[in-house]
């Protein structure tokens, strides 16, 4: 070995470095998000606004009621998406799995859409109700994908199935929209394109209460996830209770991605691209390290993407999915090509 001197130190050292780098980036992204927009604020102004607390000034309202909830939501949901993707990748033992490409996000969108149209009159569309509807939709489509995965062992083929299922869900959503009232369509259109704009503290609290415990629970599954990477047979032989473990992976992953879809609409490619970047940075796929790092990286990614979405063509805002696709999809292509090359 050329550089095998620090055997245990190198992995832990690298992890610390990656976490430090991501934290610095997140801090930078957060500051930029507070500063940039239709009203520009200098770091000094932001500091004094934060110190003085909420008051009635326009600047204070922009910081506390507009920019802060929006960026915190982007950070939490970005992290949630990354972890959700990583859980699915562990489940399928394939890095190309993700909530969006497998049609799970579209399933969530479909049920939320139907709920918005047909139940809006009788049920108040609070963030919690939206999450519940999305969770139901996610689980439904996950069940469909799992049913197919028993027949289709090839991951690429399963992706095609996922994408097709996604199209079917979108078609059903469109059909529902046809029968919706004018008022509902406006809400639905706005939401279904994916955006962090116009989010309140209620959204942030809902996201926080669901995603942080779910991400922590995911981290606690790190040990069996590591063993499961060797396959079901080996995992079983090491004492992993495979069925409950797989169920936990699916429930957590669905809950995380449902929360994102409900609160911000469908956001593409984060679930695949961010875990991949994280693994590459860490040079490891150990879940204990990847899950916290991927959460942070997902937060950084989404906060930056949201900054771009709302500033580049200001005052016109882009959909968040547009920006994440532009940055995320090439990463996925690069990953698939480099994997092919490695296997050849």
């Amino acid at each position: 070995m050329v550089k095998g001197s620090k055997k245990t130190g190198s992995g832990a050292g690298r992890f610390a470095a990656v976490i430090l780098l991501l934290s610095a980036l997140l801090l930078l992204a957060l500051v930029l998000n507070l500063a940039i927009g239709s009203v520009r604020l200098s770091p000094a102004e932001i500091a004094s606004l934060l110190k003085n607390g909420k008051d009635a000034s326009t600047e204070s309202i922009i910081i506390f009621n507009v920019r802060m909830p929006r960026m915190l939501l982007a950070a939490i949901l970005g992290g949630a998406l990354a972890v959700s993707g990583f859980l699915l990748q562990s489940f399928f033992r394939n890095p190309i799995a993700g909530p969006f490409v497998l049609g799970i996000s579209s399933g969530a969108k479909m049920i939320v859409g139907i709920t918005m149209i047909f139940l809006a009159g009788s049920v108040a569309m609070s963030p919690a109700v939206m999450v519940a509807a999305a969770f139901f939709g996610s689980l439904m489509i996950t069940a469909v994908v799992l049913l197919f995965s028993q027949k289709v062992k090839n991951m690429e083929l399963l992706l095609v199935v996922g994408i097709m299922v996604g199209y079917i869900c979108s078609a059903v959503t469109d059909m529902a929209v046809t029968f919706a009232s004018e008022q509902d369509i406006v809400n639905l259109k706005y939401w279904s394109m994916g955006t962090f704009s116009g989010k309140s503290w209620e959204h942030v609290v809902t996201a926080l209460v669901i995603c942080v415990p779910a991400a922590l629970a995911s981290w606690l599954l790190s040990k069996p996830m590591g063993a499961y990477a060797l396959g079901e047979g080996y995992a079983k032989s090491m004492g992993v209770a495979v069925r409950p473990f797989r169920l936990a992976l699916i429930l957590l992953s669905s809950l995380l991605s449902a929360c994102v879809t409900a609160l911000a609409g469908p956001i593409s490619f984060v679930g695949i691209a961010v875990p991949h970047i994280t693994r590459t940075l860490l040079k490891s796929s150990r879940p204990t390290l990847v899950i916290p790092a991927a959460f942070l990286a997902g937060a950084v990614f989404c906060v930056f993407c949201d900054l771009i979405a709302r500033t580049v063509f200001s005052p016109t805002e882009l959909n968040i999915g547009t920006v994440t696709s532009i940055f995320g999809a090439p990463v996925v292509i690069w990953m698939m090509i480099s994997r092919r090359r490695r296997e050849a």
């Binding site: 070995m1 095998g4 055997k7 033992r93 890095p95 606690l220 790190s222 040990k223 590591g226 063993a227 990477a229 060797l230 396959g231 047979g233 080996y234 079983k236 032989s237 090491m238 004492g239 992993v240 209770a241 693994r279 040079k283 490891s284 796929s285 150990r286 204990t288 490695r342």
Partner: protein
């Protein structure tokens, strides 16, 4: 003899359909049991059942006095480890990380490794000589190296019972013999009991204390290797009709050439074997003589030659045998002197060579 591993009336199969029934095996602690039998005979099915990857259809399996199917997953994982035929493809995983997974049933809820765990991992790496590879990415290893790492992972689990499904499948001869030596050492020095399946019948007979022949719906034979080999000839076990197997030499021979012998080989003391093989490759039927019964050439000729003149060991070759060999040689188109030494007991071979030379049929 206390039995560490015992099955009684075990029936195995898939989806409730019995594939093999009445499996009664007993194995002492530290013993090595090898399952042999043709592809698709159900070796893997038995191993998977014994490893509890597959439910038994009937019967019981006792490991160290406890019922296998009643152990908790953790108890089981501390008792036995497996090497499966599944190819593993972990992403970005070092060899050490893979082997460390073997400590799974011993570490805490988040998998924290103690100094003792690390020592056991080092020991496992050392045992299969992959210490040098410990920081390498698993996916960059050769098949042989991967297989050894997979074994090291099983060893890190510190099992009392090790179950291996075709562990030598991707290994070259060096690693095959090394792997089997490691298993023998584990069984001798650490009392690890081993149950495995092998395709190499020759190695199976040499490395195992017990052999189990799997063929058909029941066990064809179970016992010490020499007994089993006597009771179920390999040719029969594997439906071998295009070749043969010599249980004493442990050598496999390809199909012999049919027809009346065209070449006569004057052989002995192992000099005949390369000539036999050459002729067999050329598909020229041949006869051999005069070989002493205890000669290695005699064993090879038995599976390769169309006809062979053999003489009782340690006695001079009689005139009668010489005449028989002479007649046989003269019926051939040509004769070959394999170059065996000629001494007082087999001077008759010298006369055969002289005769062949005289008739102009001797080929050097």
């Amino acid at each position: 003899m206390t039995e560490f591993f015992k099955t009684s009336g075990l029936a195995v199969g898939y989806n409730g359909k019995t594939l093999i029934r009445d499996i009664d095996i007993a194995l002492r602690k530290g013993g090595i049991l090898t399952l042999i039998g043709p592809n698709g005979s159900g070796k893997s099915t038995i191993l998977k059942t014994v490893a509890r990857q597959l439910a038994a259809i009937r019967g019981s399996v006792m490991v160290d006095g406890s019922e296998l199917f009643k152990m908790t997953p953790k108890e089981l994982a501390r008792k036995q480890a497996v090497v499966l035929t599944d190819r593993i493809r972990p992403e970005l995983c070092t060899v050490r990380e893979i082997v460390s997974l073997g400590r799974y049933p011993y570490t805490n809820a988040v998998g924290k490794m103690t100094t003792e765990d690390r020592r056991i991992v080092d020991d496992a790496l050392e045992l299969v000589s992959v210490t040098d590879l410990s920081e390498r990415d698993f996916m960059t290893l050769s098949d042989g190296q991967k297989q050894r790492v997979v074994l090291a992972r099983a060893l890190a689990q510190r099992p009392e019972l090790l179950i291996l499904d075709e562990p030598t499948a991707f290994l070259d001869i060096k690693y095959k013999t090394e792997l089997l030596s490691v298993l023998r050492r584990l069984s001798r020095e650490r009392g690890v009991t081993v149950i495995m399946s092998l395709h190499e019948i020759d190695l199976a007979a040499k490395a195992s204390d017990l052999l189990l022949c799997v063929k058909g719906e029941t066990i064809a034979a179970f016992g010490a290797p020499d007994e089993v080999m006597r009771s179920v000839p390999v040719e029969e076990l594997y439906d071998l009709d295009k070749g043969s197997y010599d249980p004493v030499l442990g050598s496999v021979e390809l199909e012999k050439a049919d027809g009346a012998p065209r070449v006569f080989v004057i052989a002995g003391a192992g000099f005949g074997i390369p000539v036999f093989r050459r002729l067999q490759r050329e598909r020229a039927p041949f006869a051999a003589g005069i070989i002493f019964e205890n000669d290695i050439d005699a064993r090879a000729a038995k599976s390769l030659a169309a006809e062979c003149v053999t003489a009782p060991a340690f006695e001079p070759i009689t005139e009668e045998l010489f005449e028989r060999a002479k007649k046989l040689m003269l019926s051939c188109e040509r004769a070959v002197d394999a170059g065996a030494p000629i001494g007082a007991l087999n001077e008759a071979n010298g006369r055969l060579i002289a005769l062949a030379k005289e008739r102009g049929m001797l080929e050097k």
